[in-house]
Subunit: 201 residues, 2 copies
Amino acid sequence: MADPLPSYHHGSLREALVAAALRVVDDVGPEAVSMRALARETGVSSAAPFRHFPDRGALLDAVGERVADDLHARLDEATADCDDALTQFRAMTVAYVRFASEHPALFELVHRRAIDQRGFLGALDDDRRLKLIALIYEGQNAGLLPDADPELIALTNEALTYGLARMIVDRHPRVSALTSEDARKLALAATHLLQSGIGLT
Amino acid sequence: MADPLPSYHHGSLREALVAAALRVVDDVGPEAVSMRALARETGVSSAAPFRHFPDRGALLDAVGERVADDLHARLDEATADCDDALTQFRAMTVAYVRFASEHPALFELVHRRAIDQRGFLGALDDDRRLKLIALIYEGQNAGLLPDADPELIALTNEALTYGLARMIVDRHPRVSALTSEDARKLALAATHLLQSGIGLT
DNA sequence: TCTCGATGTTGGCAGCGCTCACATGCCGCG
DNA sequence: CGCGGCATGTGAGCGCTGCCAACATCGAGA
């Protein structure tokens, strides 16, 4: 953390920039990230950051990747200690919505970057989605689920989760200023409603 | 449209600016809106826009209000010729998702502005939501619906709709580059899945 | 008709992203 | 061990931006 000497070469400027930018995004938002301000804060000249990132967008991409990794880790952690696939899936939904409510700007950044076809969560989503689809097939074979396209069922579930998270991030009137606990309850209740409706129990 | 004389006073600069900004947002995105560029395009000096809007954000707010009005009108139009309250509600969902898929940047703007507690769609949502809740009460009294909190049922439905629209806007892998028709089908299928699951038929 | 407020203009400030030519110092090779 | 090259830093600067202040113009109302 503490550089012994303010030497000519910073040593870990890249990480320092990403960390500082991440803080700004989390506190204020992506549009508040300024290369020059970051350089000032990090104690380097205003041109130095461009040695590590071709442009501002690339810095935000790097931040996005880092956030995506963090989110990924959180989801893993949240689903670690439940063996039942269904409860595992529910835990993931809750963790997802919770992250959105605790770090709206980071959540927004990660999904906004998906606009540029980078799809940070692509691999992650695929990974999880396959589990859910397997679960749905199981349920259908056991006669517990309606015969709808499993892809559609999975997508509907995903849309509900994403919609809840997004409503919180976008501060929709009915869900703004929720505590983490409230967000957790809401996510559980809503997904339960959908899943019990569909037949997943 | 065609000003007879390029007189000193523009006459309708405010509307011209909003219209031009709306075009830019729709084509490129909100961050591409530049006061000076807009002024140039409109044929006035770069300080003129500030006679009508205190700052750039206010212009974007005005664009947002206009878009919200347009969206409102579209929803009214879409639900005009269906008398059944349920089909009316479904038509609204479809129109909502469709607007998102056709004008992602405008959709984003309108909901992003909600972040600043303006909640352009607040009144609109309330209006619609009351109809849905009345419908849910009806269904519950008739024994068709589970005894869940009607507010929760309404909110879940809203979250699903918003999630679908947002996934399209944010170009999530599984729903990116959908045609309007595909978006329509998807919205219908997903909401039907939820509603039939819940018991709304 | 004269005046005054709404709406336009010019010029300018500070901050931004980004580039270029030059400075520095670390690391590997002879 | 010395040195040369390359990654990484610097400072100056370009053109853009949002926004402000002082002044110009015009139309509507007294």
